[in-house]
């Protein structure tokens, strides 16, 4: 069974908000240590009085979800399902800081309330008075995939449903500092378009929000179809990854045996990119491939950006020139495979089709 992407919206470090065609030019960032989102004009979607109390990620999340709803012409979806690796960090840090700064006395509860991971999905429901299914997943590099899988399960039971499903994560100065000390990022400034050319350890942190309107029945104007998704945890070796991808493609019933294009989650970290290199030189040899993290940076739910990108490429039947690695690109995009992993631990596969 396939699930259809009816509409999609992304807020990212690129000019993606509300885009119905792929941006002509990429946003470039020179000598930076993180990529941050280009924020939309919130007042078009959120009452300024309400927005004032919201943190940046809550505003971005709610705004992106509401735009996706508006663009799909659906007032109240049958479910709101979100995935986020780290939730609402800014408010978490704010509340934690206030505990120590004020020695646990007379604390403002607002950052505590809005620090919970389900704030975005709850605030979207509140904004549109949606009493339907509502859930938030938060499992590192599986967060967005968990959310999508939940939507797919429910659509298998009832294809007529409309599921608003999305991913969101933010980078804050505090979280950047902590993850830098963990050794996740390059120890030198980076120009985003050259992310894959440094051949050093570490990646470039990023952030983003993407929401999708999903349905189980095909309609004219659908962007793309999701044939299948799969997650796998801590593979023992690159060979196991190749085996998993091979089995996944076979399970998707691909007649030709090969997708037209593979989108990889290469992030410029030589330690993690070896998984991609292994299948590029083996199982997926000679299949055109591109990667996307020079556009959005690395974050737990970055595959939601890849899905947005893939869906729009399939819809437009066009691969923008600024995607990394593009050689011998195909004329038609009928089948697209996305393979991403977070730190070699959380691996995910998506198989998409043209509608």
């Amino acid at each position: 069974m396939a699930v259809y992407i009816k509409e999609a919206t992304a807020i990212s470090p690129q000019n993606t908000f509300g885009a119905k065609v792929l941006p002509e030019e990429p946003a470039t960032y020179t000598d930076v240590n993180m990529l941050r989102c280009i924020e939309p004009v919130y007042r078009d979607f959120i009452d300024p009085m309400v927005a004032r109390r919201m943190s940046r990620i809550v505003k971005m999340g709610v705004c992106c979800a509401l735009r996706c709803l508006r663009d799909s012409g659906i007032e109240v979806p049958d479910a709101i399902i979100a995935g986020t690796g780290l939730g609402c960090l800014e408010d978490t840090e704010k509340f934690l800081g206030s505990i120590y700064a004020n020695e646990e006395k007379l604390l403002n509860p607002t950052p505590f309330i809005q620090s919970t991971h389900n704030t975005v999905a709850g605030a979207v429901a509140l904004a549109i008075k949606c009493h339907n299914y509502n859930a938030t997943y938060t499992h590192r590099g599986f967060s967005f995939e968990n959310a999508l899988e939940d939507a797919l399960l429910q659509l298998a039971e009832n294809p007529g449903l409309r599921m608003l499903t999305g991913g969101f994560d933010e980078v804050t100065p505090g979280s950047y500092e902590i993850t830098r000390r963990m050794g996740l990022w390059k120890n030198h400034p980076v120009s985003n378009l050259s992310l894959e050319q440094y051949h050093t350890r570490g990646s470039l942190p990023g952030e983003g929000v993407a929401f999708f309107m999903l349905g189980g029945r095909k309609d004219a104007g659908d962007w793309a179809a999701i044939r299948s998704i799969q997650t796998f945890y801590k593979p023992a070796s690159e060979a196991e990854v190749a085996q998993r991808i091979s089995n996944f493609m076979a399970d998707c019933g691909l007649k030709t045996g090969k997708p037209d294009l593979v989108i990889f989650g290469k992030n410029g970290d030589v330690t993690g990119d070896r998984y991609y290199e292994y299948v590029i030189s083996g199982l997926l040899k000679n299949i055109p491939h591109v990667s996307y993290k020079h556009l959005c940076g690395e974050y737990d739910t970055s595959a939601s950006f890849a899905l947005w990108l893939a869906a729009l490429m399939i819809k437009e039947q066009r691969i923008p020139s600024y995607l990394e690695g593009g050689k011998n690109l195909p004329r038609e995009l009928n089948h697209v495979l996305i393979y991403n992993h977070l730190r070699g631990v959380n691996h995910s596969l998506y198989f998409l089709e043209r509608c």
Binding site: G97, Y100, G122, L153, E157, G174, R181, Y233
Partner: protein, 401 residues
């Protein structure tokens, strides 16, 4: 007809006991776990009662397993202990675990370690041991539990605040029904933290005394810590392996109150919808429910909203109700799983738990909770409610097989 989903193992560690047997005797003897703060470091020690597990991380390590490090979050340690118990009871071997799913819920991840790290980090960005912060996220404990127990088939972590682990059980049941998993270990865990104690205290919903759910003079909740897991298996697996069935997950509902970020609507709209949906998926009517294990936090707002919703749905025939949070405290991300384990025990022992500390019926409601431990005949179906911030309301139904 979708496949049935059976419970073949349960595990729990909470303030009223560190395994199923000790929890059961506390419930039977009316022994609450709510008491003074002992281990948690907070300015509210001596002032706010909590349902704390009086065992340090070091003591917990003794009951956990080798290869577990002393810098693991308490969340991960508690989770491992309870999940292991559930697996042992289900008799799952390493091959089943390899392909099993772990669907775990929590609300603040490894916040207990983050707090240790963050205090110094606030003033000096280079201070503290970074490994203390590495388990901050909610997925960390799930992965540590999975690694500890050899679960590799599917991993998922849910955070819908106080209803989190109800949604974990729901997802597990759904995946088994659809044949995506043969076995799912589902549940949740949260440990006490400064973050949550201060968070709920800033909202002014913590009782300075032991909580009094559904009492006219109730004055807030008591926080607690716990982990609880249930092993869910498909009917086919249970038959094939001739396993003992403890109960069935027969119904589930998830609805959003969409009223306010933290407060519940006065008419309990979300609660009404989640309970109604649970009845519908189970194919049951209101009169089929033998007992409701309520969310019953003891706050003014929740108990009124939930009580009104119960009256709307069950009308003239309200089943016996009680809140076991008067025993376990409100264990947030673990709460629904704790109450699921208690519901399974109630089904097996044909009993209804007392709602402790109750004396005066709420003037808005036409029913009072059960106040003494009761044995009943013909117990068939138990409903368990869990409601959270963000309006996330979930209800589950557990049935005798």
């Amino acid at each position: 007809m979708p496949d049935s989903v059976f419970v073949t193992g349960v595990g729990i560690i909470s303030a009223i006991g560190s395994d199923v047997e000790s929890v059961w005797s506390s419930l039977k003897e009316g022994r609450t776990g709510i008491g003074p703060m002992k281990l948690i470091d907070s300015a509210y020690k001596g002032e706010l009662p909590v349902a704390e597990i009086y065992a340090s991380n070091k003591e917990l390590l003794g009951t956990a397993l080798p290869r577990v490090k002393n810098y693991y979050s308490r969340t991960a340690l508690l989770g491992m202990i309870a999940a292991r118990q559930a697996i042992v009871q289900s008799g799952a071997g390493s091959e089943s675990l390899e392909n099993a799913g772990l669907i775990s819920a929590n609300t603040v991840g490894g916040m207990d370690r983050t707090e240790i790290f963050y205090k110094g980090f606030m003033s000096d960005k280079s201070s503290g041991r970074i490994r203390e912060a590495a388990g901050h996220d909610c997925g960390d404990s799930t992965e540590k539990i999975a690694d500890n127990l050899g679960i590799r088939g599917y991993l998922s972590t849910i955070n819908t605040a106080c209803s989190s682990s109800a949604n974990a059980i729901m997802l597990g049941a759904r995946m088994i029904r659809q044949g995506k998993l043969k076995m799912a270990i589902t549940g949740g865990v949260d440990c006490l933290t400064k973050f949550t104690i201060n968070g709920f205290n800033s909202l002014m919903i913590l009782d300075r005394e032991q909580c009094r759910p559904f009492d006219e003079n109730r004055n807030g909740l008591n926080l607690g810590e716990a982990a609880a897991y249930l092993v869910l298996e498909s009917a086919e697996e249970v038959r094939r392996q001739g396993k003992r069935i403890l109960g069935e997950i027969s119904g589930y509902g998830n609805a959003c109150d969409a009223y306010h970020q933290t407060a519940s609507s006065p008419e309990g709209h979300g609660a009404f919808l989640s309970m109604k949906q649970a009845l519908e998926t189970a194919g049951l009517g209101p009169s089929d429910i033998s007992y409701i294990n309520t969310h019953g936090t003891g706050t003014k707002n929740n108990d009124l909203s939930e009580g009104v919703a119960i009256e709307r749905l069950f009308q003239d025939v309200i089943p016996p109700c009680s809140s076991t949070k008067s025993f376990t405290g409100h264990t947030l991300g673990a709460a629904a799983a704790v109450e699921a384990v208690l519901s399974i025990l109630a089904l097996q022992n044909n009993c209804i738990y007392p709602n402790l500390n109750f004396s005066v019926q709420m003037h808005e409601l036409h029913f009072a909770p059960v106040t003494g431990f009761k044995t009943v005949q013909g117990m068939r179906h138990i409903m368990s409610n869990s409601f959270g911030f963000g309006g996330n309301n979930s209800s589950l139904i557990f049935s005798k097989h």
